[in-house]
Amino acid sequence: MTAARNGRAKRHRKLAWKLFGLLLCVSLPSTAANVKVIANLSVKGSQVSPANLKSIFLKTKTSLNDGSHVEPVLLKSGAAHEAFVKQYVGKTTAGLETYYRSRVFTGKGLMPQRFASDAEVVEYVRKTKGAIGYVTAEASAEGVRILEVK
């Protein structure tokens, strides 16, 4: 009797873990899948780490390991912008705006390039050496490199 109960409890725990895993699989890519990180073809490699991506968009990292210069490019607003800033930069959009402005008004940096649409971001990234940006997952990314965040 007890053995049967233990077996049932074990199966329930397994099922709960499977459901939890399934939820993770469903929820994590759904946020990530909203956004696609893109780069100019001059940027080598097909991956970028979350830490490096954050540093690039906070402008504390301005060059890659090979010494080549990188420049962040942002969307001005929208769901993709909010998802990217929250997930990869770790700030609210208002917080990131304040951060950039504090750099501008203390002379520590220029405001990064920002565009209203995916097409404008892709176009700027395509023609600007070292540019790294993001667009909605469905946007066309012709002529740019898609980076996996890993």
Binding site: H69, S102, V104, F105, T106, G107, M111
Partner: protein, 403 residues
Amino acid sequence: MKGLVTTVALLAGCLVPSLLHGQVNFNVAGSQIQIHGYLSGGWAYSSDNNYLTMNTSRGSFFTEGGLNASAQVTDRLRVGAQVYDRYIGDLGKGKVYLDWAFADYRLRDWIGFRAGKVKTPLGLFNDTQDQEFLHTWALLPQATYPADLRSVNIAHAGGSVYGNISINRGGTLSYEAFAGSVSDDPRGGYRYGIQAQGGKLTSGITGRVAGFDLRWNSPIPGLMLGTSLAYKHGSFQSTLGASPRLFSYSTTLDRNLVFYGEYTRGNFRAEAEYRDHTRRAEVTAEIPGRPVVRKPGSDEPAGFISGAYRLSKWMEVGSYYSHYHVTLINPVVPVTGPGRDHIHDRVVTVRFDPAHFWDLKIEGHFMDGVGSPAQAHGFYPQNNPQGLQRTTRMLVVRTGWYF
């Protein structure tokens, strides 16, 4: 009235470029140039004492603004400058200051150099204390960021070495070491404080500063901790009271050790800062053959703790408690009266952001104590001939435009 006219005119002037947001970026010979500016106007009304050299007990307008241009000359080299102007009672009085102007060469991410007039990093907000739109508050905690001492704290002419170091899973470290000379401001609170003790300067004030700032962006999301240390030196010559006899003042120790932290989670933000400020000086009365030396000083622990929550895109609420204490050692002029050794300020604020280039703040201050007049923390006998009361309640309404 003059302050009101200036406020309205300057705010109207700032609104145009704000509306033309996209027209301040352009390229010259392949170099990107950006022009940014801000303008803020406010009104302060206090119950008892006049504050920050304004006639706040009757209601007083104040303004400040800045305009900068920066150019990215190469991937590693950037140059820029900002001018700044303010009209806060007797502070600034419309004088245009060169706020910062420097060349920045970033050799690697972990090391870069700035040379020129550079903003001094000290604590959370020293280098951004003028830009009200960056903060929730209409007035920053005056215990740590006294508006009257702005010009002697904000920047130095010299240079700094800075960088960012990734410590992998341990987060990132940002550092900046700096040294240089500090400007004398004839329209600043430092001189006002000397005058408050009956001093009349017969020379300019010379000053220099050196120190560092270290920030750790921890691997815990939203948590940043930091520390700063600055050593200053200042000297000047003056007479005291009706006596024509000269005395010279020279710092023997001026150390400001700061610890601070910031935590953000979603729309909530908490900040705290503690300063241990120690000042010692030597005052020499220039009596031929028999110089008289006195060694005044002060210990001034100060700090604040704050919390703010953004309710929506256009509204934020917050509160802070600002604590300043002063213990005078061998004062040149004895200080007596109620609340002369501290200023405790409890503040509540609501901030509105009607547009992405415009903010409006309404703030209540509930202050206990007036501090020592020599230490320039807002309350001066010159502006309060009726005598200073122990408590002050103040309403500040402030709006700002920026682009």
